[in-house]
Amino acid sequence: MGTQTANARSRNGHKPGSRPFAVSEDAFGEHDSDRRADNGPNPVERFVKAIAGAIGSRVPVADLDERDPDYIRESLPAQWLLASLWFRGEVRGLGNIPEEGPVLLVGNHSGGNMSPDSLVFTLAFSTYFGVERRFHQLAHNLVLSMPGLGFLRKYGTVAASPQNAERALKSGAAVLVYPGGDHEVHRPSWEASTIDFDGRRGFVRLALEHDVPIVPVVSIGGQETALFLSRGEGLSRMLMLDRLLRLKVLPISIAAPWGLNVGDMLGHIPLPAKITIEVLPAIHLREQFGPAHDADEIYDHVTTTMQETLDALAAERRLPIIG
């Protein structure tokens, strides 16, 4: 992994020379609208393209070898303090994750750009299986290119792309994906108990191609860390962020310390909502759905199972934030 030549190495799994944020196909099933041809740049578009180029140059080259078990181990106490004292994290069912071998962990995503789900789950996974077990998380390019977040690569975070997911699975790693991505993570707070992958089925194809089990990971509480008002999809389209930065949303929320928070680009201070995560039994696709599998059927099964669990977790909660 770390010995790739410069020529063979692609930036975050995308083809060299291509626009950094305009991938041919997203790992989780981007829509056709993302692949629209440019209609000639106007000044606004040129400006946004320039920003995209600047950010694109910051996106680190995907290298699975950047994951640093010693760094993770040494940072466990800090993670534990944050997860235990601030979020009162509770993770159930880690024993449902196969003890070894590649596995695709499919989670619902909540909490905006300061999503606490990943922190609580990564800590739980690392302490349960040990930092020695390979574990990668797929994240949006923008997350990895943000100043100050370079340390995420040491945790095994790589940009979400089919190539990166494939490389991680081939290395025998457990891979955490959030198919709902930016669409789901910025959903309004009143939709907190809804699994919304926006129809993105890429994770099913990935699991089938590599014959790895899917383990659903359902979390609740993240959407209570701020008051999320709107995804701002219209605003994103108007500013062409959807085409240039793969950002289909420009979220609007009320969050500390900003008050009205548009874009959430600088993050926010999440409220100390209790985060509860439940790991469900592994779904072995070929065993359960047979050789004549139907991706839609699998997608429906996974999302329905996750929704049922999320409903149960929501029923357990008595008060927002307090849990």
Partner: protein, 165 residues
């Protein structure tokens, strides 16, 4: 960080040793322990390895440990191989003030834990976790006492019945 707890058990050390040296019993009397599995061909004695986890706060922490001292029926100590740094020790000592009365056992359970290189936050995390770990040890010893004394009472009754026949 080092935490410890102690208790007196109305049973001889040999009987208490049967509990603490048997990895299959840990889930039955150790509070907070969610996993204590044999991870080596050898199940007991020096060199035996176990996968251990204890729930503390929002995580189950532990790792692979190896028995490094196995002095039956007095001392059993282990140290971590992977996971958080830890050293644990069972210390059993006979307490018999009156030779005509049954033997009692003073049981100490010690646990040292931490993460080397974690710095100030590591120290803070150790302090914050200490009350929960200490409480787990205390409850474990109380459960061990209950089970061991029950076992001792059962053995005493069985011996008495055998003598009457």
């Amino acid at each position: 960080m080092r935490v410890q707890a102690a208790i007196d058990v109305a049973a001889p050390p040999e009987l208490v040793w049967d509990f603490v040296a048997d990895p299959t019993r840990y889930l039955h009397f150790m509070s907070g322990i969610t996993r204590w599995e044999v991870a080596s061909e050898q199940a007991r004695g020096c060199g035996a390895r176990y996968r251990t986890l204890m729930r503390v706060g929002s995580a189950e922490v532990g790792g692979l440990v190896e028995v490094v001292e196995h002095a039956e029926p007095f001392d059993l100590a282990w140290t971590s191989v992977t996971g958080i740094d830890q050293r644990g020790r069972w210390r059993l000592r006979e307490r018999r003030s009156d030779p005509t009365r049954p033997a009692r056992t003073h049981v100490e359970l010690r646990l040292q834990y931490g993460v080397a290189g974690a710095g100030l936050l590591g120290w803070v995390a150790e302090q914050v976790a200490a009350p929960a770990v200490r409480e787990n040890l205390r409850r474990s010893l109380h459960e061990l006492k209950r089970q061991a004394e029950h076992e001792q009472a059962r053995a005493t009754v069985a011996a008495r019945r055998a003598a009457q026949r």
